[in-house]
Amino acid sequence: MLTLLCPCCGVQADETELAPGGEAHLKRYGPGSTDDDFEGYLFMRENPRGVHFERWRHANGCGKWFLAARDTVTLEVYGTYSAQTTEPPEHIKEAITAKHPGWSWREFA
């Protein structure tokens, strides 16, 4: 069972109370961008075996979006944090490094 701590209301929410929102930290490319950038924004997603960053919404709860760092193999959760961030905070990166030295995900490591 996957449970995530909602950073907005402090509830340890069960997976069934949450709505998945896909990959985190996507940079939006809209009108005026190149075709390659736009294609990457729309379609290109990470599908890692291991460390992954995701968006979740506390749907049956406070209704807020947040971000989570977790391991897709072990289901270990490294931490959850505010959706109003453009990259994972230091304490999340450190928690991952402690388990997976040398990890990388897109441009983060």
């Binding site: 907005c8 509830v11 069934t16 049956n60």
Partner: protein, 188 residues
């Protein structure tokens, strides 16, 4: 004006706990910056209770304020007082970025009384219903089987459940099943 009618006509069931559909109850959604002084005043003036902290239910004498999310509270009052309360809250919030909405007729309210309220709710929700997971006076927004619901415990033997009116019959069915006299677990 026609008389307000609660969705299940105040249905009642006695099992492990006594389930009563109470209501109609006055419910007003208030959204905005919960730290703002005029918003706090708008919520506390008509209810006479303290502004709740995160996840708290601040209730007294049938009135109250429930913390719903970082920018939302639910103000509880008597059904008949809703139009006046909405007006006074709206007046108090002129010039403030906030929302006041009467949601009384969109919801159904149940009262559960008896020694097994934690157990009955725990059968239906993934939320932690232990005394540590849900202390008295804390609101839990979660789901009951397949529908969203919110509940809080006034005491170890009394809980209030709020759900959408459209699923009132479904929730009553759930509660009746979970409170069947032969289904005691005795976990809590």
């Amino acid at each position: 004006m026609s008389e307000p009618v609660s969705p299940l006509m105040n249905a009642r069931y006695e099992g492990l706990v006594t389930i009563e559909e109470i209501g109609p109850m006055g419910m007003i959604t208030l959204r905005g910056d919960l730290a703002a002084t005029d918003l706090r005043r708008a919520a506390t003036a008509p209810t006479g209770v303290e502004m709740p902290q995160m996840r708290e239910a601040s209730t007294a004498d049938g009135k109250g304020i429930l913390w719903m999310s970082p920018d939302e509270v639910l103000v509880l009052c008597a059904y008949a007082d809703v139009p006046g309360t909405v007006q006074s809250m709206t007046d108090a919030l002129v010039g403030t970025h906030a929302l006041v909405a009467n949601v009384s007729d969109a919801r159904a309210v149940f009262r559960l009384t008896g020694a097994n309220v934690r157990e009955v709710l725990a059968k239906l929700s993934p939320a932690d219903l232990s005394p540590e997971g849900l202390p008295l006076g804390e609101v839990k927004r979660t789901r009951m089987a397949q529908v969203p619901a919110a509940f809080w415990l006034e005491s170890e033997e009394e809980a209030t459940v709020i759900c959408f009116r459209s699923v009132a019959d479904y929730v009553m069915g759930l509660l009746k099943t979970a409170a069947h006299p032969a289904s005691a677990v005795g976990f809590f």
